[in-house]
């Protein structure tokens, strides 16, 4: 009976530590920050008459960012396959505007608006 009790305590400690470890190792928070930052930057560019360019002041290495006219997708670069939990953020573009671009395996990110076209690309 005592062995059973010790096993039960070990199991509870193991489950608790597993949850805590998974939380500590998760990159969801960082992906959400990137996606929200980029959404706000794109909305600012849209609300700016004329052309403009913004350099994102953070290191984005280890992540892939995709942009199309409907959403921003942030994925973590994983060794095999693709990230199972990408973060999506919806964007609404005005008439005649379009958005595209992707960045991967780079640490810099620039967002450019040129004649109603918003482009996500590595900074040069």
């Amino acid at each position: 009976m005592v062995i059973f009790e010790i096993l039960a305590v070990i199991l509870v400690i193991f489950v608790t530590f597993s949850v805590a470890t998974e939380f500590a190792g998760s990159t969801n928070t960082q992906k959400t920050f990137f996606a929200e930052d980029i959404r706000m930057m794109i909305n600012t560019l849209i609300g700016t008459p004329g052309d403009a360019s913004i350099e994102y002041p953070q290191d984005i290495s280890g992540y892939t960012l995709l942009l199309n006219s409907e959403e921003i997708i942030v994925l973590e670069d994983v060794k095999e396959g693709t990230d199972e939990f990408p973060v999506h953020r919806y964007i609404s573009l005005p008439y005649d505007h379009s958005a595209s671009g992707s960045v991967t395996k780079t640490d810099t990110l620039c967002i450019e608006k040129q004649y109603k076209r918003i482009t996500l690309k590595p900074c040069t």
Binding site: V19, F23, N43, G47, P94, Y95, D96
Partner: protein
């Protein structure tokens, strides 16, 4: 097994049934605390997002900013009353997904002095806060001063008391 041992086994079984239930609740509670903490960590003030989205309403010609027909010059902060319609809002300014759009920002724009109001396609009269901007309005009679009230509906359901805030950052006067 004598009677004392039988009693001991039964007692322990009941104890572990109760302990198992309590331990399960504790672990689930721990997970919920972590999930809530993570959600709180990544929560952005909705006013910030709404402020950036709403820049377009007064600043670009695809929305409601006045554009000189001859020179094509855009006047940010001057609203062309002819453009200020729900059709224009949906067709060329801001439209959310017809099915899932209630989960994001929707707006009702109201020109206070003119008494004109327009809405985005998924606005269900559930504003969470109001942004205010000082603008000029151009109509057939010329240009006049007005205040643009941007009633903002965040994702539905969104549980927060209605707040009427003055978050004006793009005053034109």
């Amino acid at each position: 097994m004598n009677k004392k041992a039988q009693f001991e086994v039964a007692r322990k079984s009941i104890y572990w049934m109760i302990a198992g239930f309590v331990i399960t609740l504790v672990v689930i509670g721990f997970v919920l605390i972590i999930v809530n903490y993570r959600n709180a960590l990544t929560e952005f003030p909705p006013e910030l997002n709404a402020e950036f989205i709403s820049l377009r309403f007064t600043n670009i010609p695809e929305c409601f900013a006045y554009q000189d027909a001859e020179t094509k010059r855009v006047y940010p902060g001057i609203i062309d009353l002819e453009k200020f319609t729900t059709e224009r809002m949906e067709q060329s300014c801001y439209k959310t997904d017809p099915e899932k759009g209630h989960g994001t920002f929707n707006f009702e724009l109201e020109l206070r002095d003119k008494g004109v109001a327009i809405k985005t396609n998924n606005y269900f009269n559930a504003p969470v806060f109001t942004l205010r901007r000082n603008v000029f309005v151009k109509d057939a009679n010329g240009i006049s001063k007005d205040e643009l009230l941007i009633h903002t509906q965040v994702a539905i359901p969104y549980f927060r008391d209605y707040e009427d805030r003055d978050l004006s950052i793009v005053g034109t006067n």
